[in-house]
């Protein structure tokens, strides 16, 4: 488990006047996985044909009324539980009123006054070599409708509106200003993405727009009160979130050191140029005239509803990492890689279950085979559920290696052979005679032959050039067609030549 306390937080911007601390808060918009939209029966499936996934209420025809999709509430509750938040038994949908062509109702239905989830937190491990933990506390999670899309580049003098996305359920996950660097913010989004995917509540494909973030950035001198924040809207990749925070915090430090004030603006970050442009100033802020939506009664949920969601909660990624480290003696980063994707962790544990070898390090051997060999053979864009190889076959192969039947090198070549066909590796070993040679008499005889053939190297080795061990092993592999057991070979080389 990640340690609860922050052990490292060294990120500072070096300014002319001293060191500055960066303060970051995020509002993550995550599209909820559901069959139909938050308040209509229209499908949420992505479609390239504009205005084909649209119900009458999504176009705001006169007299149309929203009907709450309970599945979205369930998903929101699941996310809230996964983030250790407090599920509110009574929450209310409000209208956020503003005009925009891709907002047909003239209001977005959101939860302003009484959100579905209050509080919560996510422990995030930050850093590559020196890893530390950062707890990011949450303000709230509320549900709301996504807007449609305005397309400005389709016609020369007209804008087009696509309402396929209009009304799809979003969760807005609002953090406290708890992150202290671009790296921490990126790590948070990465961890959140993994969590949401494990929960199955959001695809979190930032490229497809199913997860986006508004980033709030301010800077301050150590110990000073919070500075004025600037909001960077609608950033759709983890990399850009990092770049935006770097650029904005740098800009703020320079401005402050030049004696300027920071204005509480809402800005756009252009990832192509790195430019930050002001969308609107605080005094121009829209008055959204929030009020409870009279078409939707308050959402009342009871303990039995919450408990039913609890029943179907999967193991959370942080807990899984800790368990993998403990039960399978994995390094932390290995555990993280294997738990990042729910399907990978399932593949790993199925393979472990099928691996009938009771040897120390057996589970880690399996982990390394997956991380090193299986991943390397997967082509881009293919998930682990899309490959021919089954966890059971991989387990058979790893067992052959662990039991010394074949060497690792031969094992890898067998993996190549069974990759497409998922053939039983034991049959390949038999039919191709690939069993490892561990018989000491045979091997000793071969070492003696090599000793005869390479007097110069033998002399040098005996003079202390121990590196030549590898040369002799290589000769042995050549002689045995790669089948000599390397451990036994090493021992015999030392015994005969050394």
């Amino acid at each position: 488990m990640v340690k609860k306390e922050v052990t490292k937080n060294m990120h500072r911007i070096e300014g002319k006047t001293g060191q500055w601390e960066v303060i970051v808060g995020l509002e993550v918009h995550a599209q909820i996985v559901s069959q139909s939209k938050l308040f209509s029966g229209a499908s949420t499936r992505f479609s390239r044909n504009p205005n084909t996934q649209v119900a009458l209420v999504d176009v705001a025809f006169p007299g149309m009324l929203p009907v709450l999709n309970e599945e979205c509430i369930r998903q929101g509750v699941k996310t809230g539980l996964g983030l250790q938040g407090s599920i509110q038994k009574r929450s209310v949908f409000d209208r956020k009123n503003y005009f925009y062509p891709d907002l047909p109702q003239g209001y977005q239905i959101s939860q302003f006054f009484f959100p579905l989830v209050l509080g919560g937190h996510l422990d995030v491990s930050v850093g590559k070599k020196e890893v530390y933990s950062r707890r990011v506390n949450l303000e709230r999670i509320h549900l709301e409708q996504d807007a449609g899309k305005s397309v400005h580049d389709l016609f020369p003098h007209k804008s087009a509106v696509d309402l396929n996305r209009s009304g799809i359920a979003l969760m807005e996950i609002v953090t406290k200003p708890d992150m202290r660097s671009a790296e921490e913010a990126m790590a948070f989004v990465r961890s959140l993405r993994i969590l949401l995917r494990h929960l199955g509540t959001c695809d979190a494909n930032m490229e497809e727009g199913s997860m986006r973030a508004d980033v709030n950035v301010s800077v301050r001198k150590e110990g000073a009160p919070l500075g004025t924040r600037v909001e960077l809207k609608n950033i759709n990749s983890i990399k850009f979130i990092g770049q935006a925070i770097e650029a904005e915090s740098q800009r703020q430090v320079e401005a402050l050191e030049d004696g300027q004030n920071i204005a509480q603006n809402t800005c756009m970050f252009n990832p192509k140029t790195g430019d930050i442009t002001v969308m609107r100033a605080k005094e121009d802020e829209v008055d959204y005239r929030y009020f409870p939506d009279p078409d939707i009664p308050p959402v009342e949920i009871d303990d039995s509803f919450i408990n039913a969601v609890k029943e179907e909660m999967p193991e959370l990624p942080n807990a899984m990492v800790a368990r993998f480290c403990k039960d399978y003696a994995l390094e932390r980063y290995e555990a993280e890689i294997l738990s990042e994707d729910k399907d990978v962790s399932r593949f790993f544990e199925q393979a472990i279950l099928a691996l009938k070898v009771q040897k120390e390090g057996a589970a880690r051997e399996m982990a390394l085979w997956i991380i090193g060999e299986v991943f390397a053979r997967m082509s881009e864009g293919v998930s682990i559920t899309g490959i021919a190889l089954t966890p059971e076959r991989l387990a058979q192969l790893v067992a052959l290696v662990l039991n010394g039947i074949v060497s690792r090198a031969i094992g890898k070549s067998i993996l190549d052979k069974i990759w497409q066909s998922n053939t039983n590796p034991e049959e390949i070993v038999k039919s191709e005679g690939l069993e490892q040679i561990s018989d000491e008499e045979t091997l000793r005889a071969w070492v003696k032959e090599i000793e005869q053939q390479h007097p110069k190297e033998v002399a040098a080795y005996r003079d202390g050039k121990v590196k030549l061990q590898g040369f002799f092993v290589g000769q042995m592999m050549k002689k045995s067609g790669g089948k000599a057991n390397p451990q036994v070979v090493n021992a015999i080389i030392k015994e005969v030549i050394g």
């Binding site: 006169p62 007299g63 149309m64 209001y107 509106v161 939707i296």
Partner: protein
């Protein structure tokens, strides 16, 4: 035969006895609609389709399989969406809007065999109490004869049509009195049911927490029958109730005894009414007491805030509900817009009438972040307090009686001040604010010989009790309708 004079129960008896056909009744109505054209009750007619439906209805009677409302000619307020039929809400904004869907209430009554004659005139987006805000012009109250008397509003077209024999029944909607006040003005029967009894799906929204569909008919029996069909849970409207709907007509078969029944009247409502109205109410009370009922005065102190509360809350909701009419999709679109913000401004400036704009301004202001607590939240608290007051009355009394309107119907154009017009809803907004049902029945004539109405307010889902009392009173009062006069 002047078939247009009959109530539906009378028509039904005639259909079943083969005295006349649905087609003949339709012909009679078509002629009457022609004669009544000057009343301006209809915005859009669909008589050809009606004649085809009549043929089907006659077949159903011939086959001995008539549905509950088979062959009932009906007018529909022009804020109920009907598939293929223009639905304007009496606004230029929706002048050319033809829905491709039916409102749920329309589906329910069509399934039981009603024949829609056309769409009835109304105040624009149901905002008004005189039908004068309609983009399609005012409606005349048939009682006016040579004088231009207001039919009430906003369901003024529906009320005038039923009173004048242009349809046997009509659908209205009631937000703060829009079924009951015009019913009273035109001497017919109009019900605002418990909030959530009828689906709002497919009704052009004015104020969502207040809007309710209601039947407007020539007598209590028709009203009860029509509501039985209109009411019921609708999965498309989350605010509809799930309770089983009783057969309101069946209840009327055995008239109730008034002995020991207890009724309350609201002093504040009586004292705010003019003399003729007060006298009329006293007559009703005397009648009830004669039959052994208790009639007591009660005081509802918060009554004086009801109009302000209603105007504010309905304007707040309307300012949001009407945001969808933006010139982008199915609405009026200004030809004078050269950019997006102009498109909104110009289309809305051209498309909405003065009263609608006034309410949108009030609502937009009241919902602004700085005023929200002062207005919206306070009104919501007030609604709760009014609810408490009503509940304490219903702990002691069966039903509450008030005049439907504080005065006789007025002359068109007579009321110019918006606030004076809002005050027309004096008696009808209070129960609307908390969702309680109220029925208006004709109770006599005022000083100028124009109709007065009695309102019966009941507890939630007490429609049966309201109808039962109204049925008895209707017989006793023996009001002479305009058609029978």
């Amino acid at each position: 035969m002047m078939l247009y004079k009959y109530t539906y129960s009378e028509l039904r008896a005639g259909y079943e006895a083969k005295d006349f056909t649905v087609k003949e009744v339709l012909a009679s109505y078509i002629q009457k609609i022609e004669e009544n054209q000057n009343l301006n009750g209809y915005i859009t007619l669909c008589l050809e389709q009606a004649l085809q439906e009549a043929k089907k209805a006659d077949e159903n009677f011939a086959a001995g399989q008539p549905r509950k409302l088979e062959g009932m000619p009906i007018a529909v307020k022009d804020n109920f969406c009907m598939k293929g039929l223009r639905t304007t809400a009496a606004s230029k904004m929706l002048e050319n809007f033809i829905p491709h869907y039916n409102s749920s209430v329309i589906d329910r009554i069509l399934n039981e065999g009603v024949i829609v004659l056309g769409k009835a005139n109304m105040d624009e987006f149901a905002m008004g109490s005189s039908n004068e805000t309609s983009y399609f012009g005012s409606v005349l109250n048939p009682w006016g004869n040579d004088k231009a008397i207001a039919p009430g509003g906003s369901s003024g077209g529906s009320a005038a049509i039923v009173a004048a024999g242009s349809s046997v029944a009509a659908l209205g909607t009631d937000t703060g009195g829009s079924v009951r006040q015009p019913a009273s003005f035109c001497g017919i029967t109009g019900m605002r049911p418990t909030y959530g009894l009828c689906s709002r799906y497919g009704i052009v929204a004015f104020a969502s927490s207040l809007d309710q569909a209601g039947p407007m008919t020539r007598d209590v029996a028709d009203n009860a029958l029509l509501l039985s069909v209109m009411a019921g849970h609708d999965p498309k409207d989350m605010t509809t109730l799930t309770e089983e709907i009783p057969d309101y007509s069946a209840i009327l078969k055995n008239p109730i005894s008034l002995k020991g029944k207890s009724f309350a009247y609201i002093e504040e409502c009586l004292s705010a009414s003019d003399e003729a109205v007060q006298r009329n109410m006293q007559n009703v009370f005397a009648l009830l007491r004669e039959r052994g009922a208790i009639v007591d005065p009660i005081s509802l102190k918060l009554q004086k805030y009801a109009i302000s509360a209603y105007v504010l809350i309905s304007a707040c909701e309307a300012s949001s509900n009407l945001a969808r009419y933006d010139g982008v999709r199915y609405t009026h679109r200004s030809q004078n817009a050269d950019k997006l913000s102009n498109l909104y401004n110009e289309s809305r400036s051209e498309g909405f009438g003065a009263e609608v704009k006034r309410r949108l301004c009030i609502g937009t202001y009241a919902l602004s972040a700085s005023e929200y607590e002062e207005f919206y939240l306070r009104v919501q608290k007030l609604r709760r307090l009014i609810y408490n007051d009503f509940m304490s009355v219903f702990a002691k009394y069966d039903l509450i009686l008030t005049p439907t309107s504080p005065s006789e119907p007025f002359v068109l154009g007579e009321i110019q001040s918006p606030c004076a017009m809002y005050a027309q809803d004096h008696m009808t907004v209070m129960n609307a604010l908390v969702g309680l049902p109220g029925l208006s029945i004709p109770s006599g004539l005022g000083a100028q010989g124009l109709p007065l109405g009695l309102q019966i307010i009941g507890n939630f889902l007490s429609e049966s009790d309201i109808y039962a009392l109204a049925h008895v009173l209707e017989k006793e009062i023996a009001f002479q309708s305009w058609l029978k006069k």
